[in-house]
């Protein structure tokens, strides 16, 4: 993952307007971007299907039937066929979105919060403290991210919360690097010096003057992580390290349906298609957010 850091544009920094107007401009820009609208629409559809699954789904996600195993797509009563235990696949795909989206989004949110806090602290305090924090995080960069995720969740043992912890630990160092480098740039600007001279406390300087400039680039970086996180989270379940059966989750479903690729290949491929669609929608949305937030440059 090559981290290209979006720098805070000098105009955005010097314009001391309330940040709300900036976000309003970004929002307007996004609404005009057809790619952003399409990706956002697809994501809303998937999220809605997952959230309202108990009301929308045609069947019970856990109800198995030995005689209705592995029905093909388009069978009567089973629009997308059935899985290896005879459960309705459409229902399980809808319910599966709940855990898959949760597992993809929560680690990024957690890393966004934790990473920004550590990065702000390290960047603002600077000096030896900064060096120690950043050197410790360098160690995590010596691990390829998939290996790190697998190693941590393998060591902690399979399970939903352990894979959430593992993925958060993978993303935190990356977010810290972005937050720290932007904080260091912002800290050197004159108006921070002015705020310090006027007697503002470190905390209020960070809160009022630094945070607003750091959040943007970190937010852009974090949206880019969503797609990676979706793929990794479902990948952990695919390996048997994430959610446990019989819970519906796309990665796990892909794993258990793998034995059916000879008898019913396209049913077996469906859960992966949803991971792919979600991840590509997150990626396109992240690209749009990135260009929408660069408008002041």
């Amino acid at each position: 993952m090559s981290a290209t850091l979006p720098l805070p544009s000098p105009v955005a920094v010097s314009a001391a307007q309330p940040s709300r107007s900036y976000w309003a401009v970004v929002w307007r820009q996004l609404r005009r971007d057809p790619m952003a609208l399409a990706a956002g629409g697809v994501l809303l559809l998937i999220i809605a299907a997952a959230v309202f699954a108990p009301w929308l789904a045609p069947a019970d996600p856990y109800k198995a039937s030995m005689i209705k195993r592995l029905l093909p797509i388009g069978s009567s009563g089973f629009l997308l066929g059935t899985d290896e235990l005879g459960r309705d696949l459409l229902t399980r795909l809808m319910y599966g979105g709940r855990l898959s989206l949760l597992m993809g989004v929560v680690p990024v949110l957690a890393a966004f919060g934790i990473g920004t806090a550590i990065g702000l602290f390290a960047g603002y305090v600077g000096g030896k403290v900064n060096m120690v924090i950043m050197r410790v995080l360098d160690v995590f960069y010596a691990f390829p991210s998939v290996l790190l995720a697998v190693a941590i969740s393998g060591a902690l043992g399979p399970g939903l919360s352990n894979s959430l912890i593992a993925l958060t630990l993978v993303f935190v160092p990356q977010v810290v690097r972005v937050a720290e480098s932007v904080t260091i740039q912002v800290r050197q600007l004159d108006y921070i010096e002015a705020a310090r001279m006027s007697g503002a406390s470190a905390f209020s300087i960070i809160r009022v003057h630094v945070l607003g400039n750091v959040l943007g680039p970190v937010f852009v970086y974090a949206t880019g992580l969503l797609s990676v996180s979706m793929i990794l989270a479902s990948g952990l379940s695919f390996l048997g390290l994430g959610v446990k059966p019989p819970e519906p989750e796309w990665g796990l479903m892909l794993n258990t349906l793998r034995s059916a690729i000879y008898s019913n290949p396209w049913v077996a491929a469906l859960p992966g298609l949803l991971i792919f669609v979600t991840s590509i929608a997150f990626n396109l949305l992240a690209d749009s957010v990135r260009s929408a937030m660069d408008i002041r440059r």
Binding site: A151, L156, A268
Partner: protein
């Protein structure tokens, strides 16, 4: 130049040491007694104590780490708890297979990525550019374990051109350089190559498009250089960055191949990691993670050292 290499080497030492610490400590995150994997639940107390001292688990953790590191440096990663075999030889055999897979995937990915990227950069805004951009987005968004499954369905079940599993006929894990073995490599390598392909296409496209807008290219053209000659200059200027990105990608592939190896039952480190995790085989887990990460550290080092060699601007800085 020599001073630069020395500085890089010295900087890599603390990183490598910390990697050994993390690889070792990771396992202590695990709940439960590591001995539970080998000793039956109703084993008598004396047996447990004897086993504990046999594996050195009765020592304090820092002492265990010290002893483990001393032996690891000499190439001894202990014995696998599950099979009783030497971890070093198991890991080295698997690493060979993973390197083969990752190397081929990187080769395909880098060649395709440079090609698509250069085409897209040269024809900025054209339909070729749009296709290449779409391909690169797909490359970085696709869950590669699913792509592996789809390719298996297409080219192993629907059209049985390539085998779906293993690294050789009859389930053998010994690699030979012949056509029969090569057929086993195709699907997993293509599957894995999609990730670097996407990222390298993106990088090369941005670099080439940026380069073509620069004054020195206009100057070259104004002097009457042919398209091919101009391209040579552009390629020379993009090479260092592409090398850095590609080098890191090979490292990521070595770690990232675990999922693809699972899909294709490829007898590499991913397969070994999987076994180690589910059998709670701690020496094997530690050993595999350590060896993979050391490869990654060395690869990073090589990229850092090679880059100024092909980019004289960095050597002077």
């Amino acid at each position: 130049m020599f001073a630069y290499i020395l500085k890089r080497l010295i900087y890599a030492i603390p990183i490598a040491l910390s990697v050994t610490v993390v690889s070792f400590i990771l396992v202590y995150l695990a709940p439960g007694d590591p001995l539970s994997a080998i000793a039956p639940a109703d084993a008598p107390e004396e047996v447990i104590i004897a086993l504990r001292s046999a594996y050195g688990l009765d020592q304090p953790v820092p002492v265990q780490y010290g002893l483990w590191l001393m032996r690891a440096v000499q190439g001894d990663l202990g014995l696998s708890i599950a099979t009783g075999r030497e971890v070093t030889s198991e890991v080295m055999r698997a690493v060979g297979n993973t390197l083969l897979l990752a190397g081929f995937a990187a080769l395909i990915g880098v060649i395709a990525g440079c090609l698509f990227g250069a085409l897209a950069g040269y024809r900025h805004g054209s339909w070729i550019d749009r296709i290449a951009t779409a391909l690169s987005v797909i490359g970085v968004s696709i869950p590669h374990y699913w792509l592996g499954l789809v390719l298996t369905i297409l080219f192993s079940i629907w059209r049985p051109w390539f085998p779906a599993m293993g690294a050789g006929p009859g389930g053998s894990s010994e690699w030979l350089w012949d056509l029969e073995h090569f057929r086993y490599l195709v699907l997993p390598a293509v599957t894995l190559s999609v990730i670097p392909m996407g990222i390298i296409t993106r990088t090369v496209r941005a670099l080439v498009a940026d380069m073509l807008g620069q004054e020195f290219v206009s100057a070259l053209r104004a002097r009457g250089l042919s398209g091919v000659a101009v391209f040579r200059h552009v390629a020379k200027n993009t090479a260092p960055t592409v090398l850095a990105v590609a080098g890191l990608q090979i490292g990521y592939l070595m770690g990232g191949s675990i999922l693809v190896e699972t899909v294709f039952a490829w007898p590499g480190t991913g397969f070994l990691l999987n076994t180690a995790i589910f059998q709670r085989d701690i020496p094997l887990l530690q050993g595999t993670i350590l060896v993979l990460c050391m490869f990654f550290v060395v690869l990073n080092l090589l990229v850092d050292i090679l880059q100024p060699m092909i980019d004289p601007r960095m050597g002077r800085a």
